[in-house]
Symmetry: C2
Subunit: 192 residues, 2 copies
């Protein structure tokens, strides 16, 4: 008898990163991940279409949060102000589990071209989600794409800085991402 498992998704993620780190990505099967997480294979497939998508977990959620943060930012904010609101909204949802998994996930991704490709596509997906949300605010196309790229760079820099620090709280991630965005704004203003 299968019983409903709270947090099956999170447990699958943790089990997968553990197994990928221990024995390699290619050598790990969906059955092993499900087994380690204490769920069935069909539970795995309710949460993830395949092993590769597991490492892009959260892309849809992050995209939605970034876009929502941008859409609901005060109308008087410019494109980067709206991007900052998006980063803030998305950061709130990441906490100690992500902080702990992040660096190990990066190491697994670095070990496989297939995963590097998936990871790049995830970043591009986040940039598109932000660019579309900015366009919906009336930001011209090229400016929207530029501000969105800056948002992705800032989020990556913030996440990377956060991963190497002891404070795994979401407030710290938001602070680091916004600081990175500020630096990029300064750099952009003086580009020649």
């Amino acid at each position: 008898m299968t019983r409903w498992e709270p947090n099956a998704r999170e447990r699958l993620l943790i089990a997968a990163v553990d197994l990928f780190s221990e024995q390699g990505y290619d050598e790990t099967t969906v059955a092993q991940i499900a087994d380690r997480a204490g769920v069935t294979k069909s539970t795995f497939f309710r949460h993830f279409p395949d092993k590769r998508e597991l490492l892009a977990a959260g892309q849809a959620t992050l995209s939605r949060l970034l876009a929502e943060g941008i859409a609901t930012a005060p109308a008087e904010l410019g494109p980067l102000g709206a991007v900052a609101a998006g980063l803030h909204r998305a950061s709130e949802t990441l906490g100690p589990v992500n902080h702990e998994l992040g660096p190990r996930l990066q190491a697994v991704i670095a070990s496989s071209v297939e995963l590097q490709e998936r990871s790049i596509l995830k970043s591009v997906g986040l940039a598109s989600a932000m660019a579309e949300a900015l366009q919906a605010r009336g930001v011209p196309d090229a400016t929207a794409r530029l501000a969105a790229e800056m948002g992705v760079l800032a989020f990556h820099q913030g996440y990377s800085a956060w991963s190497s620090r002891p404070d795994g709280g979401s407030g710290e991630l938001a602070r680091l991402s916004l600081a990175a965005l500020d630096e990029l704004r300064t750099a952009a203003a003086s580009l020649e």
Copy 2:
């Protein structure tokens, strides 16, 4: 007896875009492409590892030219000045064949998720090549990435504008890309 075929690479590209447009990407085989181009399958595989890579043709060359243009730009130029030199260098190598193939290639890419992914990876590859060349000039990491993203956006915008115009000369592509880069520089300077 196989004889050496000048421009086999270009003929393979044209044959592939023709076949993809006529009968779809999934339905087209490497054998059909080679046949249409009048070469053997082994000639195909001397030029391209597979069907997917064919549509990212030129990534290595473009990356090299963008990086060379940046590396050899006068030392007094800032990051965007160096990016402009890279765009100029890369544009010089594209001419009427690319101008004619471009829009049809885009239509084929839009028809397949696999090709869209490959195309995104190509763009990211070009951005990395430019960012590395800028870093080698002493440009700080975040500024280099930002300027490189602007270079890719400008190249895409320039290429897209070029595709819809009658003048397929490389000078026109360079002009349109540099105009797009100028617009992005203005947008970046006033981002808030």
